[in-house]
Amino acid sequence: MKYLRKYPFLGPLVAVVVVYVIFAIVAPGSFTRAENLTTMAGQTVVVGIAASGMTLVMLLGGIDLSVGSNVALSTVVCALCMRAGAPAILAAAAAMASGLLSGLVNGALVTTLRITPFIVTLGTMRALRGLAKGLADEQKIDAPSSGLDALVAPLPPGYGWALFPPGVWIMLATSGLVAAMLVYTKGGRHIVAIGSNEATARLCGVRVERVKWLVYGLAGLFAGLAGVMEFSTLTVGDPTDSVGLELEVIAAVVIGGGSLAGGEGSVAGALFGALLMTVIRTGSTYLGIDNWVQDIVTGGIVVTAVALDRARRASETRR
């Protein structure tokens, strides 16, 4: 209990291990093969990266519903650049820039118009989706994906030493950076302070508006990066892609110990939350369980995670 409180990601970590072991026992032997682990890690990348940004936003007490649309827009931007013959690195940078820009718009609307983030991002969710469709002329954009396609694809022979595809390492690196920022920097502590008690943070001289603006910008940047990963998976730019992704990302953060009320959340926890959903999806596929069952199970896990967290909290305060 004490450890769980200090390291909130232990809960979802245990859940991932337990669920994995269960599938390892009941699913066909191929489930436990190393390649499958690599594949599952690769499938977690998009949600995992976006979850880093969402963790920051939810720590603030905010929410970002525009993540899915933002990812779709990024795939379109990325594809357009690639089709125009831009080098892979430039296309990826353009996609991330579009994500960052969208996030900064979210932040500007939240801080200057003082509308609740739910409403602001509900609006930008539609608007960004429309922008993506307009840019793509309502079609999928075929583009050469050379260079970017290796991000989440299985490692080519001879590169086994890398263990995971580059995308997974990028996800781990960004998560590590964000987690370190939260603990070791002034800005990170200010994010938690705002989510915990905004009035106090303001009283103590924290520049609340600026911090919020930057956090929404960062969340957009991560959505853009997630979009690059999504493009790498799809190898096309698709304006209708990732509908509902934001809910999966929010679920990952919540499973990881995040609270919609702000002040709580863990980047590592969100990562394990994302991984948990992937393991369930993959394991169910191995067992031939229908998609609709997976949906029900995932939904149940979100609610159970929060219920367990509350029960733990209640037992602590009773103590």
Binding site: K186, V192, S196, N197, A199, A201, G263
Partner: protein, 500 residues
């Protein structure tokens, strides 16, 4: 000359004048009490000093130099720190993080952990030099695990980490503290005074002022009504300055004739508190429950009203025996006034009319519909009856002063026409004028309307003033109720501290 001086400070919000010319002179090395009824302008003055509000006119000087902070950050930089009435801490963060918040030592944005630790340790040493609270006030303890007293100390620690801190503003620092915590706070404030800080201390408790303050200034209607040395003024003098009336009128008492028993409990125990409580309440009487904060008084009322689970024992209301939901209790004619006015008692964003009629939305329109006009009319009756100072029934409750908010909360019980009133700290955060009005109302309810009133209060003096009988709660056990004739303030205080 060191200290802060305000001369002829004025401030108006639209048509409302908050300050009409206030003078204040606080010297370094003294604790200066700022007194006045709610709405007199104390808070506005303190906010001006803290840089949160800019004055319209007048002059401020700090240590002889002109002082006109443009925002809280500027006031902080000049060495002025406010510890406000609302607990301004981040519950999810540690003591150390809260103490340093906004002033973290960094290099290129990265926290300097060693230095942060040292600053926090120094601040904690200053507020807890004997180490008496060392086991709770650890730098890595989460603030949400701390009690109200410790939280208060953390806030002061934060204020004094500023090396240039010269003026400390304490706005009702004891309003949610128990007796032990008040002692710890006074010890800290005394040390800060010896260290040469100027301290402005706002409180409604004159006994606190007498113990801790050197001089006082009374504000009434936005003007300085008087100032002087605490030792040279009697409480009666001060109250007269505050209210413009004398203290004898504070506790009116008409002859009361106790009638039938309407509420009784037998060995009542809640989930945690109370442990055992038996009481009998009759029509036409006021029963006072004394006790320290945390002794289980609030929990007793909540258990009776059905807000908390009853683990053991029985509650009898009229002919009805057994536990019941709050809705059922209201139907039986029992109403509760919450101690937490802003959080539970009132919907601050809603209007007076909404709040008054909330518990009984019947008979306010045709066919069971509710019409705004009827709601307003119903509320208007009680606004007049209780003398609520407001713009009208459509005014949001959040815009009222504490005393007027409390009158609205009481109006709801009267509108519902309950027979048994459970009043939890009915005068907390309420100024002298509104307190007198509330005492008079309680007296009228018991005497003229033949209601039964159960009052919980931390102020022994208040209970002795208004109750017919008083029972003392100590560590969850409710003692026998005794007539006030056999008790005095000292006896109640001794008993609630467990000394008898």
């Amino acid at each position: 000359m060191s200290g802060v001086v305000a001369q002829g400070v004025t401030k108006a919000y639209g048509a409302t004048t908050a300050l009409a010319g206030v003078d204040l002179d606080v010297r370094a090395g003294e604790v200066h009490a700022l007194l006045g009824e709610n709405g007199a302008g104390k808070s506005t003055l303190v906010k001006i000093l803290a840089g949160a509000v800019r004055p319209d006119g007048g002059r401020l000087t700090l240590d002889g130099a002109p002082f006109a902070p443009k925002d809280p950050a500027a006031a902080r930089a000049a060495g002025v720190r406010l510890v406000s009435q609302e607990r301004a801490l981040c519950p999810h963060m540690t003591v150390e993080e809260n103490v340093l918040l906004g002033g973290e030592p960094t290099r290129f944005g990265v926290l300097k952990r060693e230095e942060a630790r040292a600053i926090a340790a120094r601040a904690l040493l200053a507020i807890d030099p004997t180490g008496a609270k060392k086991h709770r006030l650890r730098p890595d303890a989460l603030v949400r695990d701390l009690g109200p007293g410790e939280r208060q100390l953390v806030e002061i620690a934060r204020a004094i980490t500023e090396p240039r801190c010269r003026l400390l503003l304490l706005d009702e620092p004891t309003s949610s503290l128990g007796a032990d915590d008040v002692e710890a706070l006074f010890a800290v404030v005394s040390r800060l005074r010896e260290a040469g800080l100027a301290v402005v201390y706002i409180s409604h408790h004159l006994d606190e002022i007498r113990r801790i303050a050197d001089r006082f200034t009374v504000i009434r209607d936005g003007r300085t009504a008087g100032t002087g040395r605490v030792a040279e003024a009697t409480p009666a003098d001060i109250v007269t300055m505050m209210a413009g009336r004398s203290i004898e009128d504070l506790y009116p008492r008409s002859p009361r004739v106790p009638g039938d028993v309407v509420l009784s409990t037998q060995d009542l125990a809640g989930a945690g508190l109370p442990v055992r409580a038996s009481l009998v309440l009759r029509r036409g009487e006021v029963l006072g429950i004394a006790g320290l904060v945390g002794s289980g008084r609030t929990e007793l009322l909540r258990a009776i009203f059905g807000l908390d689970r009853v683990r053991r024992g029985e509650v009898r209301v009229g002919a009805y025996v057994g536990p019941a939901s709050p809705a059922a209790r209201l139907a039986q004619g029992v109403g509760l006034l919450s101690e937490d006015r802003g959080g539970e008692g009132l919907a601050l964003g809603l209007t007076i009319a909404d709040n008054v009629t909330l518990s009984r939305l019947v008979g306010l329109g045709p066919l069971g519909f509710v019409t705004p006009a009827r709601m307003r009319a119903a509320a208007a009756r009680f606004i007049e009856k209780l003398g609520v100072v407001c713009a009208g029934p459509d005014a949001p409750v959040g815009s009222l002063s504490g005393g007027n908010q409390q009158k609205v909360a009481l109006a709801r019980l009267l509108y519902h026409d309950v027979d048994v009133l459970l009043l939890d700290e009915p005068t907390r955060g309420v100024d002298v004028g509104a307190r007198a009005a509330i005492y008079a109302l309680i007296d009228r309810l018991a005497c003229e309307s033949n209601k039964a009133v159960l009052v919980v209060s931390s102020a022994a003096e208040e209970l002795v003033g208004i109750a017919d009988r008083i029972a003392v709660m100590h560590k969850g056990e409710l003692g026998p109720a005794r007539p006030v004739g056999e008790l005095d303030v000292r006896a109640v205080m001794l008993e609630q501290a467990g000394a008898s």
